[in-house]
């Protein structure tokens, strides 16, 4: 029991709003999280409005510069083997990487969160079964699955479908990442749910006759929201990495270059042996910085939650 018996007269509205704000405020107290938030804001900006920053996406035909120019005043990040400006490519790549990351994280959270909550709340056989399924997905090799899923998805949704401006090939990647990464989220959510299930307020809800689905919706989900948020941000980082790997080996969409695609291009253009380090550095650093920033924020939220729990006990 804390010593506080203070009764403040704030309204529910203020409380609800300050819930999200509170996390933000707490994050802003940490220098590492502050830096990460600034980086991610800049990246999001380039993802939303790349044209405003660097003009339209350059293609082989619209490229104007010489091939493989090292960084200079006119081409801050240098140019690639087709003479495209790497700054232009990297900024445009941000959109693809971020959208793919966010979409796959969403799939991961929905499937992983849903299954984790049901398994944790139901327990017993349902739990055992769902967790075996999760284990199976955990060991599925991502890119074998990508090869299998690509034609199936194309069959299902057609070639021309676009979601948030990304096309079928990339959607395959989104689906693959979503399917392979939900199981670890499910495990985290399940363990949280298991401990929530024993809390008195859940027991009380059972006592007054609330159905399991309602208990999950009303008591379990709101209390793991922040855990999901932390996990989601880390999943975005993982997705960006996986997307880069898949695009690097050529499973991406050449017309929608992501950071992974650029890296793949660098590889096929033999950039390392030509000494064109900037070709690799631009997309490579972008991936690295994004992943580190996401991980920092995810971990920071996690730690804050932890401390929250400790302080309350």
């Amino acid at each position: 029991m804390s010593g506080s018996t203070t009764v403040t007269l704030s309204t529910r509205i203020r409380k609800r709003v300050s819930g999200g704000n509170r996390i933000m405020r707490m994050l802003l107290h940490r220098w590492d999280a502050r830096v990460a938030i600034i980086i991610l804001s800049l990246l999001t900006l380039s993802g939303v409005a790349p044209e405003a920053l660097v003009g339209p996406l350059q293609t082989a035909t619209t490229a104007t510069a010489d091939a493989l120019l090292p960084p200079s005043g006119t081409h801050l990040f240098g140019t690639d083997d087709l003479g495209r400006d790497l700054l232009n490519l990297t900024v445009h790549g941000a959109r693809i990487s971020l959208v793919v990351g966010a979409l796959s994280a969403a799939i991961t959270l929905v499937i992983g969160g849903g299954i984790g909550m049901i398994a944790g709340y139901r327990g017993g056989r349902v739990d055992a079964l769902l967790m075996r399924v999760a284990d199976t997905f955990l060991i599925l090799p991502t890119f074998v699955l990508a090869l299998i899923l690509a034609p199936i998805l194309r069959e299902l949704i057609g070639d021309q479908t676009e979601i948030f401006g990304i096309r079928t090939t990339l959607l395959t990647i989104v689906a693959v990442i979503g399917f392979t990464s939900w199981s670890s989220t499910a495990r985290i959510v399940r363990s949280q749910t298991l401990s929530l299930r024993e809390r008195t307020f859940v027991e009380r809800a059972r006592l007054v006759g609330l159905s399991p689905m309602r208990i999950i919706a009303r008591h379990i989900f709101p209390n793991i929201r922040t855990v999901l948020l932390a996990n989601g941000i880390v999943v975005i980082a993982g997705s960006i990495l996986t997307e880069s790997t898949l695009s690097f080996i050529g499973l991406g969409d050449p017309f929608q270059p992501s950071w992974g695609t650029i890296l793949g291009n660098a590889q096929s253009a033999a950039a390392p042996s030509l000494g064109a380090w900037w070709f690799i550095a631009a997309p490579g650093c972008a991936i690295l910085i994004t992943v580190v920033a996401c991980t920092v924020i995810g971990n920071a939220i996690d730690e804050l939650l932890d401390r929250d729990v400790r302080v309350r006990r």
Partner: protein, 332 residues
Amino acid sequence: MSEQLRANTSASAPLLRVRGVSVTYAAQRSIADLLARRSASGIVALDSVDLDVNAGEIVAVVGESGSGKTTLARVIAGLIAADEGVVEVEGEGPNDWRSVGMVFQDPYETLDPKRTLGEFIAEGLEAQGLPMDRVDTALEAAELLPAAAFRDRVPEELSGGQRQRVVIAGALALNPKLVIADEPVSMLDVSMRAQILALIEQLRRDQGIAWIFITHDLSLAWAISDRVVVLYLGAVVEEGTAEQVLRNPAHPYTRALLAALPSTDPGAAGTHSLAAGEIPQGDTPSGCRFRNRCAHAIEACALTRPPLEVAPGGGAEHRVACIRAAELPPLS
């Protein structure tokens, strides 16, 4: 209890009838058990417990930590099933009644931090198809006034005592005939305690609600209850009216509990004579459960389990499970 209530209840069957209820918690099998191909022994939390509660009556269940009080509460509320025995409310089994409410020990844990007080109370109403206007009635009955000012608050803004009132309001909204309160005030300050005790008694008087009041504090049991039931290692060792059990205890265990009680009364202080040791964990002794801690134990105590019998020199409701009850020296 009013005269009229008393007349009503003594004639008819009790509101709550518990007969021969036993609960054993499965213990985890240890590696040693596995190697020896033993099944895990399990913890006997309740052993053939009988209990009656009449309408409008407050019954205190007392006993040390681990004596099975919470387990009994959970069985009566229908949260866990008994391995043996029956629990009936107004003659109905646990799946059919909706007239048992529960108040838990920790008011900080019973309210979901993410939900408003109004939502907390409404959730039971919704699940049972009762009208939503009962939210305000319940808040008012629990003296959270004005109700409108509390509906939209979140638990964080309330003191422990206020939270416990909200929990009580949540139980009241469902129109219970019986509310089980498991250590409802043990986490509250004395001043808050008095307020909650007053509320419990008032609800009994005004609405005729019966209470099972679980506590390890004999002073609270003394103050609030009509009858007291003493549990030891999952079994009832003494029961009777508050006066009988607490002013004239017949079981050595009840006497030890009473002697261990600190008191602000200068005359009563400083007479600790304690039951040595602690409640055994694991195997219950053969014969009398209490014999390994009992100052009056003799060889005969190891032979048979003493049945619950009318206490010597007491009224018919005063019953005790001790073969030497008649020989014990009177309390000074």
